[in-house]
């Protein structure tokens, strides 16, 4: 059994975008704040901090989850992908490029989380219908775009994947899906 006292700071080690990083966290520190303030992963956006807006979504062990609804101490040992992990070197990956092409963002605040959700979503469901894409996007709030460009961008990636006859997910670095 593990017990951490209320103000005790413990070292939490995670793999972020393929790099082993660690920092200190007391139990109440949210994973979103840990990623930003301890590990300097500023691509993680903080919005509502109660799981509604989706801005802070990252991949934890391959699954898109709210980093504001998880404590850093819970994530010890986890493999995490943030939006910084999507680009292939200096080049946008296909999903990011499609978002750019289809004007799927304006201010960009919600975009990081949406890219992470979509990455996991397309890996699970490489040929979604428009309705399924919209259902997935219902877990995010965007106040600029009206979502239309995002739907177009995601369907563009799906069509492109189908043309290439492969079901390779639209993402940069693959990471293992564990439970």
């Amino acid at each position: 059994m593990k017990r951490i006292k209320p103000h005790e700071r413990q070292r939490v080690a995670v793999t972020v975008n393929g790099r082993r990083l660690s920092g200190l966290a007391e139990p109440r520190l949210l994973l979103s704040d840990f990623l930003r303030h301890e590990l300097m992963q500023f691509g993680v956006r903080v919005g509502c901090e109660h799981g509604v807006c989706g801005a802070c979504t990252v991949l934890v062990n391959g699954r898109a989850v709210r980093s504001c609804l998880q404590f850093a101490v819970e994530a010890d040992g986890a493999v995490i992908t943030t939006v910084e992990g999507l680009a292939e070197g200096d080049a946008l990956n296909r999903l990011q490029a499609a978002f750019r092409q289809h004007h799927a963002l304006q201010c960009g605040y919600c975009t990081a989380g949406i890219l992470m959700s979509t990455t996991h979503f397309l890996r699970e469901n490489p040929r979604p219908t428009e309705a399924e894409v919209r259902e997935m996007l219902s877990g995010h709030i965007c106040r600029c775009t009206g979502y239309h460009g995002m739907v177009q961008a995601i369907l563009h990636v799906v069509a492109e994947t189908e043309e290439q006859g492969s079901v390779e997910p639209a993402e940069g670095r693959p990471d293992p899906v564990t439970t």
Partner: protein
């Protein structure tokens, strides 16, 4: 929007978890997926002395099909339940309701047991469990006990779980022959809290009459409400009967008013959604062997 300080405990066994809950005597919160507890902690609606993280208790994982019932471990994630062909085959109502539970991103972490233990009056999973007449399995210091869903949900966020008990699993009655299941809800945005949710299970005789009918309403009162439909047994399983059931339930329910909807609007939704849902369950039942 940051939680107050708490002690973090990660037990390795159910016995250790129960010992912690006993030690903190009502001042500890159980953490599984954290999709309900997380917001409550962040908004400081709860300020427990300790958070007991049960995510690593292996014995609370898994889905077991037994004779007459299906056991789902308290930690089964909603996303995994939605993907389970076993559950879709044996507890069809659950498969119909799960797409309405939160969003893709929250189902990836939220658990079946966590939602039931949280007991939000508008939540889909407690509603399904109550409608099907399922049970909650609780582990305590001395014994494991089962509580019928109708005795488990006492009010908003309030259940008959004792502070030193842990929800270890859920028991779902298995699909019955000649039975149809249907689920529907109205929410501001798909995946948000239901204003009204309706679940129905209907068994129809080979000559097309109502043999059994269970209709549950969520988001209406302070707990899932299973309507009394005894008066309709033996009636023809037709859309007209479904409309009559809807009228009766809309008449009898006592809806709440909150910032999302008035009692009158909820009553109107009960009438509309119940009519549709029961009609669909009848229709489905007629096509089931």
């Amino acid at each position: 929007m940051k939680p107050a300080a708490f002690e973090y405990c990660r037990p390795d066994t159910v016995a250790e978890a129960v010992a912690l809950l006993t030690e903190f005597d009502g001042e500890a919160s159980v953490l599984s997926g954290g999709m309900s507890l997380g917001p409550m902690l962040n908004m400081r609606l709860v300020r427990p002395q300790a958070v007991v993280d049960i995510k690593h208790l292996r014995s609370l994982e898994g889905i077991e099909v037994r004779s007459g019932e299906v056991w789902t471990g308290g930690l089964v994630r909603q996303a995994d339940a939605l993907k389970s062909e076993t559950l879709a085959r044996t507890v069809p109502l659950l498969a119909l309701a799960l797409p309405f539970v939160g969003h893709f991103q929250t189902r990836n972490r939220g658990t079946l047991g966590g939602s039931v233990a949280h007991a939000d009056p508008s939540a889909e999973l407690p509603l399904c469990l109550a409608t099907l007449g399922g049970q909650v399995e609780l582990g305590g210091r001395r014994r494991r006990r089962r509580v019928a869903a109708r005795d488990f949900f006492l009010g908003t966020f309030t259940t008959s779980r004792e502070p030193a008990e842990l929800l270890t699993g859920l028991l779902w009655p298995r699909r019955e022959p000649r039975t149809g299941y249907a689920f529907d809800e109205m929410a501001h945005r798909h995946g948000d809290f239901a204003i009204v949710a309706v679940a129905a299970a209907a068994t129809v005789t080979p000559d097309g009459r109502v043999e059994r009918l269970s209709v549950g309403l969520g988001g209406v009162e302070d707990r899932p409400m299973v309507g009394d439909t005894g008066a309709f047994l033996g009636h023809p399983a037709t859309p007209d009967t479904a409309t009559a059931v809807a009228e009766a339930l809309a008449e009898r329910c006592d809806p709440m008013t909150d910032m999302k909807a008035s009692a009158d609007y909820r009553r109107a939704l009960v009438r509309e959604l119940t009519g549709r849902t029961v009609a669909r369950a009848f229709d489905q039942a007629r096509r089931e062997p």
